[in-house]
Symmetry: C2
Subunit: 309 residues, 2 copies
């Protein structure tokens, strides 16, 4: 068995070692542009360069090393009709829960304002927000979103979620489809965006939809930058309608120097770290699925090409 590996960061060594341990029968071929390479059975990648497409024509399945597959789906018309396999949760959900809980508690308990006071040497107790006013709304509650909801439930915040279709999760008010998006937003104080990036979710959060959030709402984005129209969010933060945002993803990454998000005090920027892939655990999961495919059995987490994730 041969595995074609692409790592954008060029650091393939630890991946080769972990595949050798998890799947000793496989040979790992690191993809190189412009080189004739042996035919491979499986591809392992996240954001493949266009030049890699010819090498993907003969594989039996494509494995994404991330939960999101938008970097692969943008080439969907030029990919062979083989399974595209997402990474199921391997420690990513709890990381996202940590990220969202930290940002929510920080805004709810006004810790950012207390830090500003500290820098000015001010000792002043601020009025506490009320828990019942802090409804957390998850946009796109899948496996990862469900774990975020659990963390928010632990702290007693009212909960709601918006999805393509109705979801039944205890204590979470479910909104479904575009027809219910405005109502979902109108009652959301802390918006956590966890949507997959598809044609329908691109630019979903623009001036029109973000304005539906109540005054004083807070935005957390751990999904993809292209779901938010950045200048619209910035304008609403500067006007005071939106109180602030914690953003882990951006339309261009790394966030370009001079981008206004860097210096806006009400916007917190992190460098796409909300949920890092745990390499070893991911490779064990992929190796297991490759063995299943070798037995001609179906595997879980195959992308639905129609809905795009």
């Amino acid at each position: 068995m041969r595995i074609l590996l692409h790592r954008a960061d060029g650091n393939s060594g630890p991946w080769i070692e972990d595949f050798a341990a998890a799947l000793p029968e496989a040979e790992v071929v690191v993809w190189q542009e412009g080189t004739q390479q042996p035919q491979c059975d499986y591809a392992v990648l996240w954001q493949p360069p266009e030049a890699m497409l010819p090498a993907l024509q003969q594989v039996k399945a494509i494995f994404s090393t991330g939960a999101g597959v938008d970097g692969i789906m943008k080439f969907i018309g030029r990919l062979p009709d083989v399974p595209i396999v997402r990474l199921a949760d391997v420690g990513m959900a709890i990381q996202m829960a940590e990220y969202a809980a930290h940002a929510t508690l920080r805004y709810y308990r006004r810790f950012d304002e207390y830090e500003t006071q500290q820098r000015a040497g001010v000792w002043q107790q601020l009025a506490q927000h009320r828990r019942e006013d802090f409804t957390v709304g998850v946009l796109g509650m899948g496996v990862l979103g469900a774990r975020v909801v659990e963390a928010m439930r632990h702290f007693g915040f009212p909960l709601r979620a918006w999805n393509r279709s109705r979801k039944t999760v205890d204590g979470v008010r479910s909104f479904a489809g575009r027809a219910e998006l405005d109502a979902f937003l109108a009652g959301t104080r802390v918006l956590v965006c966890m949507l997959p990036l598809t044609a329908e979710t691109t630019d979903l959060l623009d001036h029109g939809t973000l304005s539906k959030l109540p005054r004083g709402a807070y935005v957390i984005n751990v999904a993809r930058g292209a779901q938010i129209v950045e200048e619209d969010l910035l304008a609403l933060v500067r006007s005071g309608h939106i109180a602030g945002a914690t953003l882990d993803v951006f339309r261009t990454e790394p966030l370009p120097a001079g981008h206004p998000f860097w210096s806006e005090p009400r916007i917190t920027v992190t460098p796409h770290i909300s949920a890092l892939t745990l390499r070893t655990e991911s490779i064990v999961q992929m190796a297991d699925k490759m063995r299943t495919l070798e037995r001609n059995e179906p595997v879980a987490d195959v992308v639905d090409r129609t809905r795009g994730y």
Copy 2:
């Protein structure tokens, strides 16, 4: 029935209104220095001034409006032999859990470092700490500490606690007494101080004990400032042995202008807000206990004068 009320902040109006609603048969007398006032049945206070002691000689019980009673116990030799009643948890435990979880996640996920990077316009992913290296140790795990432990458990951190006597809480390694303090500290990465202030806990965290924490440990104090020798903590933070601290309480409050904690970037200062008393709920609880005492029945949460809390 008459209730003698003392509020350090002078804002007695809402307390009088809430007592009128919860216990209409009671008359609330606001204590005033140097004035002849009617004899009262119960005293409601937190940090009484020394001049109030004569007025307390005739009451049937003293109610603390906070969880900690050190402000009362310092006068214990001059108080009548009546029950001193602590406030049981009225929404304080979850607030402390929020406070401790926010500070712990902030250090664990390096969000403070990412904010420093943002101010410098730097996009750089930092190595993640390992969950198994982040043992959270609660000093003084009572009712409030047990709730903090639950929040830490939700995020999967290893757990330990130190108390006067052995505690049995699922998944929490218990250490008891001075003989086991060093061992407790040696394995604690995030120390959460929740001790009552007594003669034994005053100055407990000095250079000797804080040095027992492993290099890179983090200190959170939501108990009382006098438990930490502030210059010792500062020296260990500046030397790098302790990575930082989030402190809600101080030896002198408000924290004096010019105190080095204000400007030390590795120390976060908040103005004693980790758990604010919820007035209305507290008054309902006190009114209920006063009615119980009027029936000559025993009440819960009476201070043990020997141990001091």
